[in-house]
């Protein structure tokens, strides 16, 4: 997309201004002939669960909406609607982040991990959560597991108290709380055995 103003031409690669269209063409040939095509406005690139995505987003779209509604990864859940419950948690560049409070357009170039990626990797948290019944209706469960995975990525030997603190931002209305530390400790143990 060319950005034309009345008296100058903007290079879509490096935003330098040039006086004529011919000068712009010459500049692009000289400076950017081997560069990949520039991205149109509103297009972002994401790496989600090790897959590359390039997609158009409106400026007000939340990352949750892109992941759940546009890409169909329905494991990321909308529960509180307002950054209070942790059910929409995804891991962005290693940190657990609430996708309902994150603008998708600000995620350009980010590496994102969702529950779908964690389960595809057969992370031991999945089996541990099932075994310890750390779920009832299951709606908030993926958010807990994603948050717990982010914890275990940083802390391979968490204490029960560290697990509780890490998961204290996640709400579960069914009250499964007592089971989560058991499941996370077991998953940590399995990961340690595997190392």
């Amino acid at each position: 997309m060319l950005n034309m103003t009345t008296d100058s031409y903007l290079c879509p690669y490096c935003s330098v201004r040039l006086d004529t269209f011919n000068l712009l063409k010459a500049h692009v040939r000289a400076e950017h002939s081997t560069d990949p095509l520039p991205l149109p406005e509103g297009i972002i690139q994401l790496t989600i669960n090790k897959q590359a995505y390039q997609l158009y987003v409106e400026p007000e779209w939340m990352l949750y909406y892109v992941i759940h509604d546009r890409l169909g990864m329905t494991g990321t859940k909308m529960f509180c609607d307002r950054g209070a419950c942790g059910s929409c948690t995804v891991i962005i560049d290693g940190r657990p982040v609430l996708s309902c409070m994150t603008l998708a357009i600000e995620c350009n170039g980010k590496t994102i991990e969702t529950i779908e990626g964690i389960s595809a990797d057969h992370h031991p948290l999945i089996d541990a959560y099932i075994k310890h019944h750390a779920l009832q209706c299951g709606y908030c469960t993926p958010g807990f597991i994603v948050t717990a995975k982010a914890l275990l990525d940083h802390n391979t030997h968490p204490t029960e108290d560290e697990i509780k603190q890490a998961l204290a931002g996640n709400l579960c209305r069914c009250g499964t709380y007592p089971q989560h530390p058991k499941a996370v400790l077991e998953a940590a143990h399995v990961l340690q055995e595997g190392r």
């Binding site: 909308m78 209706c137 709400l171």
Partner: protein, 815 residues
């Protein structure tokens, strides 16, 4: 489609022997039933995020709908201009309150329930006007006025904000006592007062005046429970599409069959033209369990109409603010008068309860069901105020548990007696003592065990009651906090109501499928059904599966409410499994060339001759060879083995209407630490002992016990909906402002259940889903009393109330 209002008397059903009273002799071996470590069948889908919920459903061409909400607590639309909203790009249709499809039409028709629960009286219908799209709002946030369907949820929401309305603001009232004052404005047009007529307003057995005369002491106290919310995880939604004159829906609904019934009636469709699909349900607790409420049938009707208008599938969605409807039905102001002997025998209980927007409980029931107290009186007054209609959310027994705990613990405190002794002194049913219960147990084939005593023994040992119980306000801990410990008790319950049907099919490879429409709201309902079928037929658990989703199977299991999930459905699948087994054995008798099926049995997937167990065949060998069809030189078979069953577990409530007294008891213990400087109450330890009769899934039982405890502690200490007294607008309509418990808000919870076989469900099981969350909130009262030496009978027990009780502040935040 007019349907009869009365479904037939339970007397008749009972006389015809359609449901069973009494224990059944055990005639199977428990291999899978009661086994720990059984992998839950919903676990993989839920843990991996693959489980689909109503909100996740998406079909091509789907549009999004939102409904307008009243910004006022009480107001009428004088004029509504939807022009700007109609012109917004992406808007497909607007349904207005004055459009012919909806104008003047009530939400619910002739059918819903009998007596006091009929739609004209219950739930949503408690409000004076119950139109599907009204021009008058009776509470802030009421769905009304207009519904908009658009290409996206965002456009639909934006279009709502472009509707211009001239409002006539009308007087509102938030407090039920204020609503009863003689000069209060009347909220319901044409009514003489704001009191809602309840035919069960007065209840009395025995003679309370005489009871007070024979008492050694009489106490009086006042208590209050403020509004709280079901607040389930998944926000309500519905997805609807029309296929010619057939309607297909995906609902977030605890009772999908009733949803189907209601919408078919509203749309004047034959029920067989309506398909109601249910995927996983993100919590419910009854909050998605009143089909008569606007939040359920209302959104279904509006979505169906908008889908008809646009010719496209329509999904109607709530946002979180929209979910702040339907407070738990225990918003009450109560006056108690209790007479008792010095030995703890209670001679009379009199209570007056004033409920806000609620009409489904009186507060006296557990004294009737659960005690030998002869003289009981209750005056229950439901009152209309300008907040959303309340409904039972885990559960309608809240009011009764509230009064039972407070009355018993106040009596014990006055006498300085151990509350355990007071409980044991008064345990019984319908004015009879435990001797009557013991006789009933013997006559009906139940084990002769004292459930309450057993629960208390286990629980008091687990918490260290004897060592820790102390006079109120006398134990200060080294951290400066005041230690409190409390006990309460109740009967365990399943309401043993409901009917249902299911089929059990044995496939050609010997695997077994349970077929029946059923929604999952969380308590792991399907694993125990498979455990039951496995043991009833004699096959391994791993070879049994359940296909529970669409109603189009034609079999409908009992909806998961009233703690009737397993007690009703367990009986249904047990019956069906027995029929399938019988059919299998009859076919096997031919193959074995024995005289009849009674000579055979099945264990671990192997059919054998009882007298000669070595003579055996696999189940699949019998099924595959059962009924061959000769086709083009080859043998084929169709799955030949199927048994199906219908079962009626009862009508409503054990004691009152089925004459099945509640035999299972439960005992609850709690320790708290109260900070005398901040008033903060910390729950440091809870011990629940439920007599569940028989635990088919031990982990499932424990899940309900600790899960209910977390919810109960949360309700007792934090949860409260707060409206602005100046405007009537709800102030904390989000989960940031309406707090509930996180992982850090409750100490360790012990769940040592016992199994006496005293339940009315299969194998003596009793329900477990509702009991704990319903009892625990009130237990905060005696626990805080024991800590600080003063009663705080105003729930939730927030720090300001504690400080006021301690004399450290003069006023609470809302005074």
């Amino acid at each position: 489609m007019m349907m009869a209002e009365e479904p037939g008397s339970y007397q008749k059903l009972r006389e015809e022997g359609q449901y069973h009273i009494g224990a059944e002799p055990l005639n199977i071996t428990f291999n899978e039933i009661g086994r720990r470590g059984q992998r839950r069948l919903d676990g993989y889908e839920k843990a991996t995020g693959k489980a689909l919920y109503t909100r996740d459903m998406h079909i091509p061409g789907m549009l999004y709908a939102r409904v307008l909400r009243s910004p006022y607590a009480h107001a009428k639309i004088k004029h509504m201009d939807t022009g700007r909203a109609e012109r917004l790009p992406g808007v497909r249709a607007i349904l207005r309150f004055d459009d012919p499809q909806v104008k003047g039409r009530d939400l619910n028709g002739s059918y819903f329930a009998q007596g006091w629960a009929r739609p004209k009286l219950a739930g949503w219908a408690l409000k004076p006007v119950h139109l599907v799209l009204a021009d008058e709002a009776w509470y802030e946030g009421q769905p009304m006025g207009a519904a908009i369907v658009a290409e996206s949820e965002a456009v639909a929401q934006q279009a709502l904000s472009l509707i211009h309305i001239e409002w006539e603001e009308l007087p509102f009232i938030l407090d039920q006592e204020e609503a009863l004052m003689p000069d209060a404005p009347i909220l319901r047009p044409g009514a003489e007062s704001n009191e809602i007529h309840d035919p069960r307003k007065f209840y009395e057995v025995g003679d309370v005046e005489k009871g007070f005369q024979t008492a050694d002491q009489i106490i009086e106290f006042k208590a209050r429970r403020r509004p709280h919310l079901w607040a389930g995880a998944e926000m309500p939604s519905v997805l609807v599409r029309w296929l010619d004159d057939r309607l297909e829906m995906w609902v977030h609904q605890q009772q999908p069959y009733i949803a189907k019934q209601l919408i078919a009636e509203w749309l004047n469709l034959p029920m067989d033209k309506v398909t109601v699909n249910t995927v996983y349900q993100g919590c419910s607790f009854g909050g998605r369990g009143n089909p008569a409420n606007h939040s359920e049938n209302g959104i279904n009707v509006l979505a169906a109409l908008l889908s008809k208008i646009t010719g496209q599938p329509v999904k109607m969605l709530f946002d979180r603010r929209d979910t702040f409807f339907g407070e738990s039905g225990d918003i009450s102001i109560s006056d108690f008068k209790v007479g008792f002997k010095n030995d703890g025998t209670i001679t009379a209980v009199q209570m007056k309860n004033i409920f806000a927007v609620y009409l489904a409980a009186t507060g006296i029931d557990h004294f009737v069901d659960n005690t030998r107290i002869v003289n009981l009186a209750c005056e229950a007054t439901p009152v209309d105020v300008s907040i959303g209609p309340a409904w039972w959310a885990r559960c309608e027994h809240l009011t009764s548990c509230f009064s039972l705990t407070l009355v018993f613990d106040h009596v014990a405190a006055t006498l300085g007696m151990d509350p355990i002794e007071v409980a044991l002194k008064n345990d019984g049913t319908h004015g009879h003592d435990t001797g009557y219960l013991d006789q009933y147990k013997r006559e009906h084939g139940f084990p002769d065990r004292d459930s309450l005593k057993e629960c208390i023994e286990v629980g008091s040992q687990a918490i260290g009651w004897k060592e820790k119980w102390h006079p109120p306000g006398t134990r200060k801990l080294t951290n400066g906090k005041l230690h409190g410990i409390a006990f309460t008790w109740d009967h365990n319950w399943d309401d043993t109501r409901g009917t249902g049907s299911a089929a059990v099919m044995i496939e050609n490879d010997g695997s077994v499928t349970i077929i029946g429409q059923h929604v999952d709201i969380g308590p792991n309902p399907w694993t125990p059904l498979c455990q039951i079928v496995a043991d009833e037929i004699g096959v391994p658990f791993e070879s049994v599966h359940i296909k529970p989703w669409t109603v189009d199977t034609g079999f409908v299991l009992m909806s998961p409410d009233g703690s009737c999930n397993l007690v009703t459905n367990g009986n249904i699948v047990r019956k069906a499994a027995r029929k399938a087994k019988q059919m299998l054995l009859e076919l096997a008798a031919e193959k074995f060339a024995v005289a009849g099926p009674e000579e055979l049995d099945i264990r671990n997937g192997v059919i054998f001759i009882k007298a000669d167990p070595a003579n055996s065949m696999l189940v699949r060998e019998v099924v595959a060879k059962a009924m061959p069809m000769h086709v083009s030189g080859a043998f084929w078979t169709q799955p030949p083995i199927i048994g199906w069953a219908w079962h009626n577990q009862g009508i409503w409530g054990q004691a009152n209407e089925t004459e099945r007294p509640r035999l299972c008891r439960q005992a609850h213990f709690m320790e708290v630490e109260v900070d005398p400087d901040t008033g903060q109450v910390e729950v440091t330890h809870v011990v629940n002992v439920n007599d569940v009769g028989k635990a088919v899934s031990p982990e499932g039982v424990e899940g309900q016990m600790y899960g209910g405890t977390v919810m109960g502690v949360s309700r007792g200490t934090i949860e409260e909906m707060i409206w602005d007294p100046q405007t009537g607008v709800l102030l904390n309509g989000s989960l940031l402002d309406y707090k509930y418990a996180t992982m850090l808000d409750c100490g360790p919870i012990d769940t040592p259940f016992i199994e006496t076989g005293l339940g009315h469900g299969p194998y003596g099981a009793s329900g477990i889903g509702e009991a704990t969350a319903t009892i625990i909130p009130a237990l905060l009262g005696p626990a805080v009393y024991n800590a600080i030496g003063h009663w705080v009978d105003d729930f939730p027990i927030t720090p300001d109330k504690v400080l006021k009780a301690l004399g450290k502040i003069q006023q609470c935040s809302d005074e």
